[in-house]
């Protein structure tokens, strides 16, 4: 490849439209005759449906259709999710049947002339509920005396697993220190700025259905909706335009989508549903709620001998189509040892169903492995009386011990974790920090520092998938298709569905360099199942940097070869003597021999036999690419905080990320991904919590209650790149998840360090001001543990 734009922060192709208000998001789709949908939703966490009276809503002026399950079931099948060994996966209807299991569960759909009228009429639907006791937390769920969400399963425990590696019993017996802790991660939600939405355009004549939606995986939407609606796939076309963020939330098949599609078919008119924020916060999916009990043994030198983990995951009420619950626990299990020397390891997992919103993937869905490990390591370092950086260095695999397999069977390569850690420590001035900290403490100022190391599979690879034990979406090659248009411009078709990541820019950078044309002559086409290559997964799992790039580079090389061969045939010259530079084919050493891409386009489409020996016209290639083993990204995060122990305010003084994602296609886009992820990780610790009352009532259904951080809350995030050069044709690794994986550990470690004079151990990831004050002992919490002021 002649590197010209790859590796540079070229401006984004997406930006001129986005910055002038000319993007096209799903709510911007307006079709002739379009009607609007609203949903009647359960106000109760757990209740039996005794009756639903829709008469007043149906006769309300402007209402076209009201459906409950009893009608919808004639037009749509039930929904379920991917299965996995030992996992109970509930089957459920799009609109509630017999029982509601979470606040906000859709009970009826109302379709009307306008959204206002639909909402007015929805308020007239009378539903009689017989309240059932709600199962609201994981301990309740595991209690045999609690009500059961799914009597057909007979228990709220939907998955249980036990894994043993090495011999933890012997390792524990020989330990110098043993530490036991319970770490709790609270419920959070993705909260993309654009809520979910769908516009269904059904043609009564042909029965074809064009579905505009905001989704990470348009082909999965098409496949799954066709199945549920019992329609042949050839009738469905799914189109996504610009997407206002997702972070994992827009990856499942929504119950609302099924009801809207069925309504559009019944009415023979386009129907639009745009989720409002209260719906998004309550029902679009929540994440992260996991508790890990850990027990760790170390020797006198601070070497970790063995770890036992027992994980409980609260999956909420319904399975999300996409990633099964057991997927999360098994990814956490497989990745927990990371780049550290750990040879004796037990991991038990339990997943439970509760009367809360469905658990969905949220940026770095397995983040608990990093948070708990790096939190635990600070606790262990303290127990051993060893500096936390030194503790990590002692436990990382040495370079001469790599490559090898981790204890869970995951391929480990030579890592740069030692280097990223030392660089981060040097960059923040760790050697002088402890003296500054002591001096600040003497003035009553509480500074703290926290580190976090992690390696991120970006994308997932065979030994990891084997360790996990299953893969929700089959590990299939990523495909790209590249066409020379008759005017010589290039169209790249990808199965990626970018939603902020800038793939229209980065993939075009790769094509431009590989083919030898200007970037502006390449257009990236995504999000239209009518033209893009099939893949169950669009954009997600930090897969694009490696997989989409591999497919794109491969197809670009094929097209370049075809173009050169065309010129070579025409000129009766060896293709090896030709070059393609800046959109022109030139014969080396013969300056007069020159052919523009515009001429190539015309020739390829007008002279049968020139482009293709079978006489067909045009130049168009497909390429499938699958990446190999150990495609790791890696980072060290370091956070310095100042904690006001009177008000509980945490000020982030420095936030440093030293990251290594291999080579970068567009460094500014990499920085943006890292910083955005860090911001979400910080937000989860200091602000956000999807809160439920003891009756399962949802308490954070607005941005007044579910707090997102502002520009005043997120500090400047310093990103340092270490560009290793993976020995690979495709040297790029993903960075989508990493920021969010590293930040909770770095920040909570820093806060614990700042509060060391209070003897605080942080076990609960959510640390809003009142919790900080409680931890310092100024307030004795009714629910949390109380701590007494031990003097500064």
């Amino acid at each position: 490849m002649i590197q010209r734009v790859t590796g540079t922060s070229v401006q984004r192709v997406e930006d001129p439209r986005i910055l002038t208000g000319r993007g096209r998001y799903v709510d911007d789709v307006a079709l002739p005759g379009m009607l609007h949908a609203a949903f009647v939703r359960s106000p109760h966490a757990h209740a039996r449906l005794r009756s639903i009276d829709v008469a007043a809503a149906r006769s309300y002026p402007g209402v076209h259709l009201v459906l409950t399950d009893s009608e919808l079931r004639e037009h749509a099948g039930d929904m379920t999710a991917n299965g996995s060994a030992g996992l109970f996966v509930a089957t459920y209807s799009a609109l509630a049947r017999d029982v509601v299991r979470m606040v906000g569960e859709p009970v009826a759909i109302v379709v009307a002339e306008s959204r206002n009228v639909a909402e007015d009429a929805a308020a007239l639907v009378r539903v009689e509920y017989e309240l059932l006791a709600a199962v609201v937390d994981m301990d309740d769920a595991m209690d045999d005396a609690s009500p059961v969400l799914y009597p057909e399963h007979g228990s709220n425990v939907i998955y249980r697993s036990e894994h043993r590696y090495g011999d933890t019993a012997t390792a524990f017996a020989g330990a110098a220190h043993v530490v036991r802790e319970r770490f709790l991660q609270h419920r959070q939600t993705n909260a993309p700025m654009e809520c979910r939405g769908i516009v269904v355009d059904h043609s009564p004549g042909t029965q074809a259905m064009e579905i505009h939606t905001s989704h990470q995986s348009p082909h999965a939407v098409r496949f799954t909706l066709a199945m549920i609606l019992r329609q042949p796939m050839h009738l469905l076309r799914v189109r996504c335009g610009d997407i206002g963020g997702s972070f994992g939330q827009k990856g499942g098949i929504n119950r609302e989508d099924v009801a809207v599609c069925a309504s559009a078919r019944l009415l023979g008119r386009p129907v639009k549903w745009i989720e409002d924020r209260a719906e998004n916060l309550a029902v679009a999916g929540q994440a992260r709620e996991e508790r890990l009990d850990v027990e760790a043994a170390i020797d006198a030198d601070g070497r970790v001998l063995a770890v036992r983990v027992r994980m409980v995951m609260d999956t909420g009420a319904y399975p999300q189509l996409g990633f099964p619950a057991s997927g999360y626990t098994n990814v956490v299990r497989s990745l927990f040892p990371a780049a550290y020397r750990l040879e004796h390891y037990d991991f038990d997992a339990v997943a439970v169903a509760t009367n809360k919103a469905t658990y969905v993937p949220y940026r770095g869905p397995w983040e608990a492995e990093t948070w708990v490990r790096e939190r635990l390591f600070d606790v262990l370092a303290r127990a051993a009386g060893i500096d936390p950086v030194e503790f990590r260095l002692r436990n990382l695999w040495a370079d001469d011990e790599l490559p090898r397999q981790s204890v869970t069977g995951v391929e480990l390569i030579k890592f740069s974790q030692r280097e990223t850690l030392l660089r981060a420590a040097a960059y923040v001035g760790y050697d002088t920090f402890r003296a500054e900290q002591a001096s600040a403490r003497s003035r009553g100022v509480h500074l703290g520092i926290g580190f976090c190391n992690f390696i991120e599979p970006a994308p997932f690879f065979p030994s990891l998938i084997k360790a996990i034990g299953f893969m929700a979406a089959p590990r299939t090659p990523q495909e790209a298709q590249l066409r020379v248009e008759p005017d010589g411009t290039l169209s790249l078709f990808t199965s990626q569905m970018p939603h902020g990541q800038g793939h229209e820019t980065t993939l075009a950078q790769l094509v431009a360099d590989e083919v030898g044309v200007e970037r502006s002559s390449v257009r990236v086409v995504a999000g239209d199942t009518g033209v893009t290559p099939f893949n169950f997964v669009g954009t997600g799992g930090s897969r694009a940097a490696t997989l989409a790039s591999g497919a794109t580079i491969g197809v670009a090389r094929q097209v370049r070869d075809r173009i050169l061969r065309l010129a070579a045939d025409m000129w009766e010259i060896d293709p090896a003597d030709l070059d393609l530079v800046d959109g022109n084919i030139i014969a080396k050493g013969v300056p007069s021999r020159k052919l523009s891409m515009a001429a190539v386009g015309v020739l390829a489409h007008t002279r049968p036999g020139l482009a293709n020996s079978d006489g067909s016209l045009g130049i168009e290639e497909h390429h499938a690419y699958i990446s190999g083993e150990a495609t790791w990204s890696q980072s060290t995060h370091c956070c310095v905080v100042e904690v006001d122990v009177e008000t509980g305010q945490v000020r982030i003084v420095r936030y440093v990320v030293v990251e290594d994602c291999g080579r970068m296609i567009n460094p500014a886009i990499v920085d943006g991904q890292v910083r955005g992820g860090v911001a979400q990780g910080i937000a989860g610790v200091l602000f956000e919590r999807a809160a439920y009352g003891p009756d399962g009532g949802f308490l954070s259904a607005s941005f007044h209650d579910y707090l997102l951080p502002t520009a005043n809350d997120i500090p400047h995030i310093e990103v340092i790149h270490r560009e290793s050069d993976p020995d690979d044709d495709v040297p790029f690794r993903g960075v989508g998840e990493g920021g969010a994986i590293g930040a909770p550990a770095a920040l909570t470690n820093a806060i614990e360090d700042a509060l060391a004079p209070f003897g605080v151990t942080i076990r609960d990831q959510h640390l809003p001001p009142h919790r900080i004050v409680e931890l310092c002992g100024a307030i004795v919490s009714e629910v949390g543990e109380s701590r007494f002021h031990q003097g500064a």
């Binding site: 902020g500 941005f703 007044h704 005043n712």
Partner: protein, 162 residues
């Protein structure tokens, strides 16, 4: 509802053009812009005045169009994201160009509101400090960027003189 006024006539200028519409009294300015006037650049992110995506200028001052009734802007001058581009200089304002150069935005959903408040800020205070920029956009939520790149874009525009 019988006997009460349910529809009202609204006349206003939007991005310098005279516009008129007859709307439900409960129609919001955001709905008027997006649905009646087909200006979909203004985004609705929360409908309760927190996220700021729907922010527009009403008589030069930023306002949440999701909480502003259309009837209230009768006689007002409204500027939306579609009105920020300076057609004389090739379609992008200095602020827009600066934000493109700094990779300020990712998904683009919060963008209209932030560009509007940044335009207001730079009109009032052409050389803001970083702190002033952060304060000015602190009523607007962005979920993608962590704000650094947005702050950089606005400061870059200030350097250039927008």
């Amino acid at each position: 509802m019988s006997g009460s006024v349910t529809r009202v006539d609204v006349r206003l200028t939007v991005n310098g053009r005279d516009r008129a519409a007859t709307v439900d009294v409960r129609r919001t300015l955001a709905e008027l812009l997006r649905e009646d006037l087909a200006l979909t650049g203004t985004h609705i992110g929360c409908e309760h005045g927190v996220c700021g995506s729907c922010t527009v200028l009403v008589d030069g001052a930023s306002a949440r169009s999701c909480l502003t009734l259309a009837a209230r802007v009768d006689g007002c001058a409204v500027v939306t994201i579609e009105g920020l581009a300076d057609d004389a200089s090739g379609g992008l304002s200095t602020l827009q160009q600066a934000c493109i150069e700094q990779h300020s935005f990712q998904c683009g959903f919060c963008t209209p509101g932030i560009l509007i408040v940044a335009t207001e800020l730079l009109a009032d205070n052409p050389q803001p400090s970083e702190e002033e920029v952060r304060e000015a956009i602190s009523g607007n939520l962005c979920r993608c960027t962590g704000y650094d790149s947005i702050v950089a874009g606005i400061l870059h525009a200030a350097e250039r003189g927008s």
